[in-house]
């Protein structure tokens, strides 16, 4: 059997080739213009951010040696040779860590409750009125865009120093973030049960309770757990502005160059975040089956 490859006539081939080259050239042009714009933006940004490669190279050794220093005890030995000395403040740190976890727990729960109350008003398919929906959406957007730590800074002045400011800051930020996610979840819900419940003469509230809620509650819990995980990280730095938790101890250690304390506190934070990560992942997997894990 012979293999026949049909060769197009010269003329036809030439036009095809020309069209192909033109298409490729246009794509290349677009790509290179985009890349050029991007590099230009980077250059402007580099000037704006006072990037100084010389400083970086001169001091980069510091970065490496910083980790060397935080892993060295005052006595000059490596930290892992003497755990008692390294984690000398473990009682205090564990207590503060517990406070951090409580801050994120209470903050997430309060935020979830408020988000729950607001999300049916913000979702397109269940909102009772377009004006209300607009107002609630803007409110949630505000709560989510202003960073939690900025709220914390203001709350520290209003409510005084302490974990209460941190809790409220996290609660507000969580309300904004969860409110949006919950509302998106509601928007994806099946509307047929709602019609069914409404046809029995039920009020808006009953429609939400008996038609929408059973569809979305598992998703809510999953998102709330995910938010809790994020909030643990957030709460670990709330102490930087005096809003409670382990952050206070950490910033003091960093600012005052208590090197081995820095590494000890950082390690406890990282370990906690790991454990919370794995635990919430496990809980989500078990409570809501595989599909809710993503």
């Amino acid at each position: 059997m012979t293999i026949a490859v049909s060769i197009l006539p010269e003329q036809q081939l030439a036009t095809l080739n020309a069209a192909y080259r033109k298409a490729v050239a246009r794509k290349r042009l677009r790509l290179s213009v985009g890349a050029l714009l991007f590099v230009a933006a980077l250059l402007v940004a580099a000037i704006g951010a006072e990037v100084n490669l010389r400083t970086l190279f001169t001091y980069f050794g510091n970065f490496i040696s910083y980790f060397d220093r935080i892993l060295t005890l005052d006595s000059g030995q490596r930290v892992w040779t003497d755990f008692g000395e390294w984690f000398w403040g473990w009682r205090k740190w564990l207590h503060l860590l517990g406070e951090t976890l409580l801050i994120s727990y209470v903050g997430t729960l309060i935020g979830a409750v408020f988000a729950f109350a607001l999300n049916f008003l913000a979702a397109e398919n269940t909102s009772p009125g377009p004006w209300l929906r607009f107002a609630v959406q803007r409110l949630l957007e505000f709560a989510r865009t202003v960073p939690g730590i900025v709220f914390a800074l203001i709350f520290v002045i209003a409510f005084g120093l302490g974990p209460m400011a941190g809790v409220l800051a996290i609660a507000i930020h969580s309300t904004g973030a969860l409110g949006k996610q919950f509302a998106e979840f509601v928007e994806n819900a099946d509307m047929k049960p709602v019609e069914g419940v409404r046809s029995t003469g039920a009020s808006w509230l009953s429609c939400m309770r008996f038609a929408v809620l059973p569809q979305v509650s598992a998703g809510y819990a999953s998102y709330a757990l995910l938010r809790f995980e994020i909030n643990v990280r957030e709460a670990s730095v709330m102490g930087f502005v005096g809003a409670g938790g382990i952050g206070m101890e950490l910033i003091v250690a960093i600012r005052k160059f208590y090197y081995s304390d820095v590494s000890a506190i950082l390690l406890t934070i990282i370990a906690t975040v790991f454990v919370i990560d794995i635990a919430t992942g496990w809980v989500r997997g078990h409570l809501f089956g595989k599909e809710a894990r993503t």
């Binding site: 970086l56 910083y66 409580l102 730590i149 209460m164 730095v237």
Partner: protein, 282 residues
């Protein structure tokens, strides 16, 4: 008309005991969980010194502060604020780009379909996880110790913090890629590098570009706050004005942040749309 089969309720009860008489453990599971959640909440409120009087006082203060914030007014410092905002945007853009550039090769090492051996993958993944476990603000504090106060420390902080996040996201994107194209390259005699360049990259680059754009957006938010610890940008001004209780300036700065974030949001949304097309955006 077909006649409805007549079923005794008693018989139904007997046939589906799990529906009509669920075991007491599963009936009690939800209330028990709610009770536990509530108990921890109450314990937390007590332990964190919540009190009604403090709450009322604080809300009163907050109302007072909100009144003082109106109308937003930059005073005579508008040029300084605009420069600070530019600094913030620069920090976000540069930090994210640096992180993406460094994370790409490392993410290959963490992907199951590139490095099949778990012994090599495991340390890389744990390394990325530990970087991710540390908040951007903490990295900013560390970098301030190294390169001094200023926006450059902020760029490096965002770059390091995102390096961890990107490493994980990119490796997940790479693991999700279709292996058939890689096999095709291998079948035609390509080397391992060819497999990555021509088999994997064309599939994952659009996904990665979308993620990078999304992070530039979210980093604009992060970049607004790293100034609070002294790493440049608009956060520095914000923290300062809050400390000296110049509430009109504070509200103006917050407005500036909101507008900037909304603008970046819009631009990156358009760009993502152009790069990945409508399917992936939704």
């Amino acid at each position: 008309m077909s006649r409805r089969p007549h079923i005794e309720p008693e018989e139904l009860r007997k046939r589906y005991p799990q529906v009509f008489d669920p075991p007491i453990t599963s009936r009690l599971a939800t209330p028990a969980m709610l009770a536990a959640a509530l108990a921890i909440l109450v314990f937390g409120l007590v332990d964190l010194d919540f009190s009604v009087s403090r709450l009322i006082n604080g809300v009163g203060q907050l109302g007072w502060i909100s009144l003082m914030m109106l109308p937003p007014d930059p005073g005579s410092s508008l040029p300084i604020y605009l420069k600070a905002l530019g600094e913030t945007l620069s920090i976000a853009l540069l930090g994210t780009t640096l992180a993406a550039v460094f994370a790409l090769p490392v993410s290959l090492l963490a992907a199951r379909n590139v490095i099949p051996s778990a012994i090599f993958r495991f340390p890389v993944r744990r390394f990325l996880d530990s970087i991710r476990g540390v908040d951007t603000l903490i990295w900013a504090l560390v970098w301030i110790n190294v390169v001094g106060l200023g926006p450059f420390a902020g760029v490096l902080a965002i770059a390091v913090a995102d390096f961890g996040a990107f490493g994980k996201l990119f490796s997940e994107a790479i693991e999700g890629a279709d292996q058939k194209q890689v096999e095709g390259i291998r079948a035609s005699g390509g080397s391992a590098l060819h497999e990555i360049r021509f088999g994997l990259m064309p599939q994952v680059l659009p996904v990665i570009a979308g993620q990078v754009l999304y992070f530039i957006e979210s980093n604009t938010r992060s970049a607004t706050i790293i100034g609070i610890v002294g790493a440049g940008g608009i956060g520095l001004q914000l923290a300062e004005q809050i400390r000296v209780l110049e509430w009109q300036k504070v509200s103006f700065l917050i407005l500036m942040i909101l507008v900037a974030v909304a603008a970046i949001d819009w631009i990156s949304g358009k760009l993502r749309f152009a790069i990945i097309g409508q399917r992936a955006v939704a």
